[in-house]
Symmetry: C2
Amino acid sequence: MTSNEIGSRAATLSDVARLAGVSIATASKAINNRDDVAVATRERVLRAADELSFTPNAMAKGLLAGRTGTVGLLTSDLEGRFMIPILMGAEDAFGAGQINVFLCDARGDAIREQHHLKALLSRRVDGIIVVGRATDPRPSLGQDLPVPVVYAYAPSDDPRDLSLTPDNYAGGRLAVEHLLACGRTRIAHITGDPSYAAAQDRLAGARAGLEAAGLSLVGDPMFSEWTEHWGRDAAAILLQRHPDVDAIFCGSDQIARGALDTARDLGRSVPDDLAVIGYDNWEVLSTNSRPELTSIDANLQVLGRLAAQRVFDAIDGVDIGSGEHHSPVRLVIRGSTIARR
Amino acid sequence: MTSNEIGSRAATLSDVARLAGVSIATASKAINNRDDVAVATRERVLRAADELSFTPNAMAKGLLAGRTGTVGLLTSDLEGRFMIPILMGAEDAFGAGQINVFLCDARGDAIREQHHLKALLSRRVDGIIVVGRATDPRPSLGQDLPVPVVYAYAPSDDPRDLSLTPDNYAGGRLAVEHLLACGRTRIAHITGDPSYAAAQDRLAGARAGLEAAGLSLVGDPMFSEWTEHWGRDAAAILLQRHPDVDAIFCGSDQIARGALDTARDLGRSVPDDLAVIGYDNWEVLSTNSRPELTSIDANLQVLGRLAAQRVFDAIDGVDIGSGEHHSPVRLVIRGSTIARR
DNA sequence: GAAATCTACGAAATCCCTTTCGGCAAGTTA
DNA sequence: TAACTTGCCGAAAGGGATTTCGTAGATTTC
């Protein structure tokens, strides 16, 4: 086995220097492509480094540089499906540079979060992204941290922080405008838990869209859980109470799938007789329904990338501003609102 | 704003020592609860540390200790839903200790993976967990790494590595045994892509279970995609070709949901007339179907925790062995196999 | 041929912390 | 009172890398 097995500590710069017969300083310069090193010497050093499979110790480097090239990602709840695309986007943006990501899942527990925060600070991360599990404001980590912080998905409750959240209002409006463009006028709304800002914002957007067209919702918006069960039940009630609705804007894809099921059971044909639009564009749900589900996509991966970019900027000393910024959403049209062939 | 704002570098031990009027050595001892420090002195130091919100620099500590207290999590594809529970389990196990996790997503690209591996090594992680996206063997990272490596979900193709994968064979067998216990005898199998080891292993387990009961599958196992669409189509073909099947073992919950849809369309009542069992226990699918879906749960979170534990052991110098180890799976009974009230 | 100018390299400081070991003062014992 | 503990603290080394600055030798210039 090579010199590199478990137990034998990794090679250091001084090992390389010794093998190449030069000083540590020269070895460092050779490896980092600094000037003032003769070509022959540089080659000798590089050969030695290669032979020992030398990997510079990032910690030692960080100690000196005052930057670690690491970023903390503090999430509240990994299970939540909104985390993952954001996390991917961020990891993506960072991975392209030379930055590595510390992942910390606080499990929605404030104590754990403090604990993780402390750990991140002791690791001297260069920045922190806080990812929440809903679009409702969450407590700020505070203003007196030695590193820049960006809040993604869930905004901070302190306007002095920078927060990036998807634009639920625009999403609600976009959904309704699409239904209107499809010629629908009798539009109802089934959504989830009314205590979620997401539910309220999407509803407000939808109402604004209708109002602009001189219309209003059919019946009251129906609130309950973000589940297929509720989608089925609500749609059944709705279609019985208002048989003349020609479109349902659902607050989530799960609810929309439930609504599709009920429509099918009741013999309502989608999209001819009834259009259904969901929210989130959760592909495992939206692309597997009959018909496939038109939905609003929050571009979470882009959001994650944007958050990472902001942290980058802040690290570079750029002022990244503050307040809650809404990132644009996108309509994904499938067969549940327009007949396709 | 306090002394701690962005830009002003974090307080160091020598800042604390100066403020407390002691030497750096004494400050260190006081903070780390070492002996040989007078009570009054210790208090003075702690007060100073608090005032400066001093956080020890983990890098400097790691440089000295030879361990960093970090672990790398090298995934192939964050999108895959199997990653997340494993990642949660691992993060959970580590988070309980004082270990932090570097998350690296290679996006299934070998180049990116090498790149990330190099970064992890330069950060001197104490161990690495490699999480694959399928249960098929993946290329080993090699034997000459200076840190212990554990493979989770996707095993390494090198038997000298330690791999932990869910026991698909046992899962297939468990599914069939449950159906048999429910009194079913004419059991068919619809599954996904035949090139997946998961598909083959589950099938083999199912066949073994049937054989032990002196039975065999109704018709050939049906292979195609892991989607609801395929589940619907396959079930339609199956029920037409073999109207007398009384149970379908589906290779994934998605396929099972499709099968449930078709059964409903064809007027077959589940579970009375036809039992359906899925695989993966993906709750968003399994608990939202009509009826709710019995499924096999691979306990991925436990798998993640186990992998983390092995890395712990290896770091502590324990020999963790090698080869592919299968972790137990679990049956989750819901309404699609047994009528419940 | 002496002085000025480069070139290539190395010694040493620095980053922040832990740990060992030596020293000083006070208290204890013979 | 001399000899010893004991308790408390600080000086300094060490860990791995970068960077500044000084210097020896080679080269150029007049």
